[in-house]
């Protein structure tokens, strides 16, 4: 009796088990291991994994009315597998996309050719909440505006990957991707011995190399720092993790000062030390109280001056969120064609813009079939999933859209793929995938990414703040047999 024989039938694309109820190519060896262990052993190992996570203190913070709660990172033992040859194609598509988006951002803050050529309506860009006039006129080394991108991919029932959104502002999750790998190596060492799984821990070296490459100063060893809002931020764990792995300082706003010559320094016990590159994990709005929110105590007064003077590199650059707007998303295929003269290698999900008259009518009439997204929220907040919504929720969104059409986009509900997940037995649960893409002097894509899984049966919401979990992602090199 094989584990996969009990796997429930359903109509979605499953990442591991094909319609014929046998493991797909990339999952064959994995299932050999799972069957060797058996369900009881798997459950034991799941417990070991959870204990390891508690011991390593891998946690994330949930904001709630009752204050902030530190929760242990939810992890499911059964990995998601992808064939290396398929991943290579995805990688090319992601690099292509980020390259085009960076050219777009540089254009928007300079000549605005794409607007003049009427590829994108001006108001879509200039009314975006993340358009920053303060960044106008800036030209960056390697056009590295969005240096670190965490794109959300989903696989639809046609078996194809789609980009759901581009996270260009301060994407998070990469430390969890790496920790998932550490945990799964600890609890399933045999599998790593037998299966060709691409390693992923070189990410932090690649990140440091990329950050060094955007330094505007001609120093041999650029001083790189990670700027965090502090311990109360939900991603603090990740900020500390990345700084540690790169061997650079983790700083808070109050550790940095900008002097009259527009140079950035950090406060050390023996005085001030010059900083060349800042990997900031703070939103634009809090970055510099001289320019943006005056009440920000997280930022560094004068940072924008220093950046504009070309004395410090900031990753991601202020204002790059303009390309990470859910309305603009609809135009990314056009952006790729315009700047690169290439066809997009990864598809977009069809997107209706509520600000367009014909789309507006369609959306209002078909609310119950669509997913409605606010143009500028992250973390799965303020989302409406039409087929699952109550009449009351549908009415609320109908009103919201009519009040402010620019603020909403709609997409058809996708039948996103599932992965076997350890419950009482193995059951299918929906997943997405967030790979991380670096763009500096060179481009780099992680081997796999963070697979997030909706642990609740039938649920499509994968966010950890809302009952989502995660899995290790294995990119598998198949051996010729």
């Amino acid at each position: 009796m094989h584990i996969e024989n009990n796997y429930p039938h359903h109509t979605f694309y499953d990442e591991a088990i094909s319609a014929e109820e046998t493991p797909r190519k990339a999952s064959k060896d994995l299932f050999k291991h799972l069957n060797n262990m058996g369900l009881d052993e798997l459950k034991e190992r799941q417990k070991t994994a959870e204990k390891t996570i508690a011991q390593m203190g891998i946690s994330f913070t949930v904001y709630s009315d009752k204050g902030n709660i530190d929760r242990l990172w939810p992890f499911d033992l059964i990995p998601r597998t992808i064939e290396a040859s398929e991943w290579k194609q995805v990688t090319l598509g992601l690099k292509q996309r980020l390259k085009a988006l960076n050219l777009f951002i540089e254009d928007i803050y300079n000549e605005q050719k794409i607007l003049k050529d009427k590829i994108i309506p001006e108001e879509v860009v200039l009314t975006s909440k993340d358009y920053r006039p303060e960044s106008r006129g800036m030209k960056l080394k390697h056009q590295s505006w969005a240096c670190i991108c965490g794109s959300d991919l989903v696989r639809n029932d046609d078996g194809k990957f789609y980009v759901l959104e581009d996270n260009l502002r301060v994407p998070s999750g990469v430390s969890y991707m790496l920790e998932n790998r550490s945990v799964s190596k600890q609890v399933m060492p045999e599998a790593f011995q037998d299966i060709n799984i691409q390693p992923m821990h070189q990410y932090t070296y690649e990140l440091l190399k990329m950050l060094g490459s955007i330094s505007p100063n001609d120093t041999e060893n650029p001083e790189v720092v990670v700027l965090t809002p502090g311990i109360f931020n939900s991603a603090y764990y990740e900020h500390a993790y990345l700084a540690h792995e790169m061997g650079v300082e983790l700083v808070e706003g109050s550790d940095l000062i900008v002097d009259d010559n527009d140079c950035v320094y950090m406060r050390n016990i023996d005085g001030l030390q010059k900083v060349d590159v800042i990997y900031r994990r703070i939103d634009d709005a809090f970055l510099d109280p001289e320019v943006f929110r005056e009440d920000s105590t997280l930022g560094v007064p004068g940072l924008m001056r220093a950046w504009r003077a070309g004395n410090v590199g900031i990753a991601n650059a202020p204002g790059c969120g303009v390309a990470d707007d859910k309305v603009l998303y609809a135009y990314v295929p056009d952006i790729i064609r315009y700047y690169l003269n290439e066809e997009p290698l990864i598809s977009n999900v069809p997107t209706y813009e509520c600000s367009k008259e014909e789309d507006y009518q369609y959306v209002l009439q078909n609310l119950s079939k669509l997913v409605i997204k606010p143009a500028n929220e992250s973390g799965g907040y303020g989302l409406l999933i039409g087929p699952k919504a109550s009449q009351e929720e549908l009415d609320t969104f109908s009103k919201l859209i009519q009040e402010n059409p620019r603020n909403y986009v709609a997409q058809p509900t996708l039948n996103i793929s599932t992965v076997p997940t350890l419950c009482e037995s193995l059951e299918p649960r929906h997943v997405d995938l967030r790979p991380f893409i670096l763009h500096g002097e060179k481009s780099y894509v992680t081997a796999g990414g963070l697979t997030r899984v909706a642990l609740v049966k039938g649920s499509l919401v994968v966010n950890s703040s809302q009952g989502g979990g995660s899995k290790d992602t294995w990119i598998i090199e198949l051996e010729d047999k």
Binding site: A54, I231, Y237, A240, L250, I269, D270
Partner: protein, 321 residues
């Protein structure tokens, strides 16, 4: 090294030292309670007094019961000086300086935190309290040993040493003050006399110096000699003198230390002085007060030199109490 990181490392070491000392203090105190005659005014509340928690206690508790006193000192998260608060802060400080410390530091501290958090109800129960305190002490020793065994002599280690040394010296002076409290009791001097050796033996135990004292000082245990031993024995790691030397060693290789060096020299001069000791008089207490003041001066100079060079002293002591 970042000023902020230096500050947190310094406090991390202080908290670890403080957790161990507080646990030991509570443990020894409950032993002492069993030995002392009823007429000696020794209560659970003495613990609150030694640790300077009277104001907090008066504000938050009614009766000076064993349960209340133990909870205020050990488990109460609202008391910024409780063992649990120190542990919480120690853990936060590791979390924010993780990148400068051996990986085990986080694992050990986190483990201890999870343990105490799970068992904190045991602080209420006399029969279980000691077991938990024992575990806490052992964990703190493991952490200190791990750091000694895995670090190199770098700036991180130096700030940890400074924190350990100053907290240890401060705690030793406070514990001696318990002795001073009894010495100063005029009316009951006669009655205390017969319990004197038990009292001072317990003070030695609470800084885990009993064994070393026995080996080094071959005579009966009395106030004068215990005080001398704990204040200026050069060989005892927990003596105030040794703590001062430890600080000076580290300070010598850190930047901008002219002022701090002077203050440490003053502290050393104070330690070398003949310690006043007189039954029925507060002179010992006053002397220990001077020592604590001098420690506090050194602490403030750490701030003005390394942690917050240009910011006024009131705003900067968010972590101290």
């Amino acid at each position: 090294m970042l000023s902020r990181v230096a500050e947190r490392l310094y406090w991390l070491a202080r908290y670890i030292e403080r957790i161990e000392n507080t646990a030991r203090l509570a443990q020894v105190h409950s032993q002492l309670m069993l030995d002392m005659p009823k007429s000696v005014k020794l209560s659970w509340h003495t613990l609150i007094e030694i640790t300077n928690n009277e104001d907090f206690f008066d504000e938050h508790y009614d009766a000076k019961t064993e349960k209340n006193c133990c909870w205020a000192l050990l488990g109460d998260r609202d008391n910024s000086a409780s063992l649990m608060s120190s542990l919480w802060w120690a853990r936060e400080n590791v979390r924010t300086t993780r990148d400068t410390l051996p990986r085990e530091t986080w694992i050990y501290i986190n483990e201890l935190y999870l343990l105490v958090n799970e068992k904190q109800e045991d602080f209420y129960v006399r029969s279980k309290r000691n077991t938990l305190l024992e575990q806490i002490i052992r964990s703190c020793q493991a952490i200190a040993g791990m750091l000694d065994g895995t670090m190199s002599l770098n700036t991180t280690f130096q700030f940890l040493q400074l924190g350990t040394a100053i907290e240890r010296a401060d705690m030793t002076s406070r514990l001696l003050d318990v002795g001073a409290f009894f010495v100063a009791q005029e009316t009951e001097a006669q009655e205390i006399k017969q319990f004197e050796s038990i009292l001072w033996a317990n003070i030695l135990k609470s800084v885990s110096a009993y064994f070393m004292y026995r080996q080094a000082v071959h005579m009966d245990i009395n106030g004068k000699s215990v005080i001398r031993y704990l204040v200026n024995d050069p060989a005892l790691f927990r003596s105030i003198k040794h703590c001062a030397t430890m600080m000076q060693t580290q300070v010598n290789t850190l930047p901008n230390t002219l002022e701090i060096n002077e203050s440490i020299s003053e502290l050393q001069a104070l330690i070398e002085k003949k310690i006043p000791f007189e039954l029925g008089s507060p002179v010992l207490h006053n002397y220990l007060d001077d020592v604590q003041m001098q420690l506090s001066k050194v602490h403030n100079q750490f701030y003005s030199t390394w942690f917050h060079p240009s910011i006024s002293q009131e705003t900067m002591q968010q972590q101290s109490q």
